[in-house]
């Protein structure tokens, strides 16, 4: 009974997390991206709590708190600040249009199912249903980074991918050691800050945060 509830909850949570990731593909304004990321992170923090509760690992509560502070409050705030500075830019012309993006995202999730199938088959974990979804989220994050032009979108895509990795880790292992988790958080924060600096420089140089302007550096 308990296990089946756990299993259902984890699959549901993973699905919601993935759904927020796919949201990125049809929204255009940067503010919507930040919101999607914020909600996704909040659900993910809840997932930590659920897994901590059913998996009897109180450490995960700490992780959930840290995770929540970092990804629900700090990073979105930074993102909003950057967004204001660049004056409500929109992802008007992605390399792949919305309809195609959604179809491709579906295919990517299918690919994730195909790839994780051997793992899911041999796994006895109650959370195994979420593993392909987490993998799918990683692909979707990567897809956002590849097809969107604005540097800010790419940062959000990266953060979503990072969330996917966190989800995969917690579903697959029921919590990696706290110190590793903290290291990963610090890593994300540092990476984010460095990217922020780059975005400011790109904006300063090209008067735009379209990454395809970087092509001009080639010659």
């Amino acid at each position: 009974m308990n296990d089946s509830l756990f299993s259902q909850l984890s699959t549901l949570g993973s699905s919601v997390v993935l759904l927020f990731g796919i949201t990125l593909l049809w929204r255009r304004s940067l503010r919507a991206y930040t919101g999607a990321f914020q909600w996704q992170s909040a659900v993910l923090a809840a997932m930590f709590v659920i897994i901590g509760y059913f998996g009897h690992d109180p450490e995960l509560y700490f992780v959930a708190v840290f995770f929540g502070i970092l990804k629900v409050f700090i990073l979105p705030r930074y993102l909003e600040r950057m967004e204001k500075r660049f004056g409500g830019q929109r992802e008007s012309q992605p390399y792949v249009n919305v309809a195609t993006s959604l179809i491709l995202a579906g295919l990517l999730v299918l690919l994730a199912y195909a790839i994780t199938r051997p793992l899911v088959l041999v796994s006895a974990l109650p959370t195994r249903g979420g593993l392909p979804l987490a993998m799918g989220l990683i692909f979707v994050g990567l897809f956002v980074v590849i097809t969107r032009k604005k540097a800010l979108t790419q940062i959000v895509g990266f953060l979503v991918m990072e969330n996917g990795i966190a989800l995969l880790a917690v579903l697959g292992t029921f919590g990696i050691p706290l110190i590793v988790e903290l290291g990963v958080f610090l890593d994300v924060l540092m990476g984010f800050l460095v990217m922020q600096v780059f975005v400011y420089h790109i904006h300063g140089t090209f008067e735009s945060i379209d990454v395809d302007q970087l092509n001009e550096l080639k010659h």
């Binding site: 690919l111 195909a114 692909f139 990567l142 897809f143 590849i146 080639k218």
Partner: protein, 674 residues
């Protein structure tokens, strides 16, 4: 010996640190020179002590470096090269003290002083290396420090290009050496040379052949054998002159050291074709080197081509040694190797001397173009004397050292009739012919080099106002000039010493006693003997007697100052003098097939009449065959391939991310299904 070794290390280290810390000014230059001179002196003494006592020195590695994997050991061959490094290193460093004064405020003296010490240090450690790792590491240190030194005058045209060629060639060679050592040691680079020596005989013949060919390519690229010689005439001229002396005198000799160490010592000799290939490459290098040198009017480029020639002569000796070795004619083999190694130290001393002399000329006239020199013998008598000694030595005139070693090489080649296979035996006289032609052309070339540079009237205002080199530069040249004379007069001491060095390497017998230790040098297994000492005293006698007799006969006591070859003209100018181009013209015609010269004659007539000429412009150039037929096609191929690969590099961030993602997905799929 341990003390000398540590003194050498610490002097070089202090010299390098001192130069970096103090840098510019007399003190910094002095410290760099002092460190190098003391270090080179200690290395020289260490080598001599090891050679005379016949002992070898194993250096406990923890003493030097707390890391494992390094091994140093000094044996006879290493000691001999240590002597060369010390001799040329000390002179070049001493010379560099005065020479680099002109660099003050223009180029980085810090880097130059430090890199000079690092170069000498790594060269000294190179010949002590006892395993592949140490050898490769020091090899790379030598290459890189020499690269920095070549780039000293980085803002001059051609310097950076020369540096790129040098570093590319030396790294191509380095790659071959790494492959060679991996093949020989079975993948473990810390295998000691001793272990390789015993293991190499067990290697399959194709593997041994591969090791030999890799060694020939790797060491040949450093030594400058044809066709890998192209970097020498570029890099030697643009380096500061004392660095050119070191590079030509010592750095390229590391290729010879490596080849002897590998082919004779570690591999213990091989089939006949090994020696044949070395001999052929040597003969071709010698001949082409001197032929291209003849066409050069840039004094330092001329000398650089002569390095190719002399490396060729050394390789003729070594190749002959390897051929005899494969037929078991051990005494003749030893003779060939002795000739080659003897020529190695001789070339180091006279080429070092000549580069230092060319440096003094450059220092005084600020040009390397011989056509703008002339008359320097009156203005820089000491430099002229030293340059003359060097020229006579490189032209193999007795009683100087070039003669002694070339004579030994000839003797070993003449022993070729002992080879039981006629097809091979008949090749030896061919090599003799090529060597003889080379020597003759070298003499012609140095008549040109010395005559055009130092004799006649100055051809430019710079040459007119030339000044003698300062004391430290003259001292540096004097050391090497003395070495040229000393090595030429004492082959009866040097040859047996080299016999001792080679004793036991690759199964060579002890030939120390084969050379009788009296004044004349008698050849084992050969039919000749030679006494440079007697030749010298004879020459000295004639040179003093003739003037004395003439004086006694009251012939022409008056000193006349007048125009030479006036031909009745009034107002002769230096423009009417014999030029370097004119001197080389007959040879340019004889060897036109090789040079493929291009001529361009532009005559500007007076508009009124064709009988009045306003100006004549004559341009002549020779075709650089190797650049055109070997390197240009190769470079074109590389560029084409790079251009194709470049399409991947579209510059788009998204495209790169697609690559990453595609690879990730493919790997995941591969992991799923395979």
């Amino acid at each position: 010996m341990m003390f000398l070794f540590l003194l050498m290390l610490s002097a070089y280290a202090l010299g390098a640190v001192g130069a970096l810390a103090l840098g510019h000014g007399t003190l910094g230059r002095g410290l760099a020179a002092l460190g190098a001179v003391v270090g080179a002196g200690a290395g020289f003494t260490l080598g001599v002590v090891a050679l005379v006592s016949g002992q070898s020195l194993s250096v406990g590695v923890p003493l030097v470096l707390p890391l494992t994997g390094f091994a140093l050991r000094l044996d006879g061959l290493g000691a001999f090269f240590l002597v060369i490094i010390g001799l040329v290193g000390a002179s070049a460093a001493l010379y560099g003290f005065g020479y680099s004064a002109a660099y003050e405020g223009r180029y980085s003296l810090r880097m130059m002083g430090a890199m000079l010490n690092v170069l000498l240090l790594s060269l000294s450690l190179q010949v002590l290396a006892e395993n592949a790792l140490t050898f490769l590491l020091t090899w790379e240190m030598v290459s890189l420090s020499a690269y920095w030194l070549v780039l000293t005058e980085h803002d001059q045209p051609g310097t950076v290009r020369a540096g790129v060629w040098y570093i590319a060639m030396t790294h191509a060679g380095f790659a071959a050496l790494v492959a060679m050592f991996l093949l020989l040691s079975g993948g473990e680079l810390t295998t000691s040379f001793a272990a390789m020596r015993s293991k190499s005989a067990l290697l399959a013949p194709p593997a041994r052949d591969a090791v030999f060919l890799l060694a020939l390519f790797g060491f040949g690229s450093k030594a400058g054998i044809v066709p890998l010689h192209v970097w020498l005439p570029m890099a030697h001229p643009v380096a500061p002159s004392h660095v050119s002396a070191l590079m030509s005198g010592v750095v390229i000799k590391m290729g010879i050291y490596g080849l002897v160490r590998m082919a004779l010592d570690l591999l213990g000799g091989g089939p006949v074709w090994w020696g044949g290939v070395v001999l052929a490459i040597g003969a071709v290098s010698a001949l082409l080197g001197v032929l291209y040198a003849l066409m050069e009017h840039d004094l330092k480029r001329l000398l650089a081509y002569h390095s190719v020639e002399n490396i060729g002569i050394i390789l003729i000796g070594i190749g002959a040694g390897l051929v005899f070795h494969s037929y078991g004619l051990m005494t003749l083999a030893a003779l060939g190797f002795i000739g080659g190694l003897y020529h190695t130290i001789n070339h180091a001393s006279f080429k070092g001397l000549l580069f230092l002399g060319a440096g003094s000329v450059l220092h005084a006239t600020h040009t390397r173009n011989m056509e703008e020199m002339g008359g320097l013998i009156k203005r820089m008598p000491w430099t002229a004397l030293f340059f003359l000694i060097g020229s006579a030595a490189i032209s193999a005139l007795p009683p100087l050292n070039g003669f002694a070693s070339e004579w030994l090489v000839f003797q070993s080649l003449l022993g070729g009739f002992n080879i039981p296979v006629p097809e091979v035996a008949v090749l030896m006289p061919v090599a003799v012919g090529m060597l003889a032609l080379t020597s003759g052309l070298a003499a012609a070339c140095f008549v040109k080099a010395f005559g055009i540079t130092f004799l006649a009237l100055p051809r430019s205002p710079e040459a007119e106002h030339a000044h003698e080199a300062p004391l430290s530069m003259r001292l540096g040249m004097a050391i090497l000039a003395l070495a040229c004379v000393g090595l030429g007069l004492a082959p009866f001491a040097v040859a047996p010493m080299l016999g001792g060095v080679l004793n036991g390497l690759g199964g060579l017998p002890d030939t120390r006693l084969a050379f009788t230790l009296n004044v004349s040098l008698q050849m084992p297994d050969a039919f000749a003997q030679m006494s440079p000492t007697l030749v010298a005293s004879g020459l000295l006698l004639i040179l003093t007697l003739v003037p004395l007799v003439m004086w006694a006969l009251r012939v022409n006591r008056k000193l006349r100052v007048s125009d030479t070859w006036g031909c009745g003209r009034v107002g002769q100018t230096p423009r009417m003098e014999y030029t370097a181009t004119a001197f080389a013209e007959p040879l340019r015609r004889v060897f036109a097939e090789l040079y493929r010269p291009s001529r361009e004659l532009t005559i500007d007539f007076h508009p009124e009449s064709k009988y009045f000429v306003q100006s004549i412009e004559y341009k002549s150039d020779i075709t650089p065959l190797f650049d055109r037929w070997l390197y240009d096609p190769f470079l074109r191929l590389v560029r084409f391939a790079a251009g194709q690969v470049r399409r991947l590099q579209a510059g788009s961030l998204h495209l790169y991310l697609v690559y990453v993602t595609l690879v990730l997905v493919l790997l995941l799929l591969a992991a799923r299904w395979f």
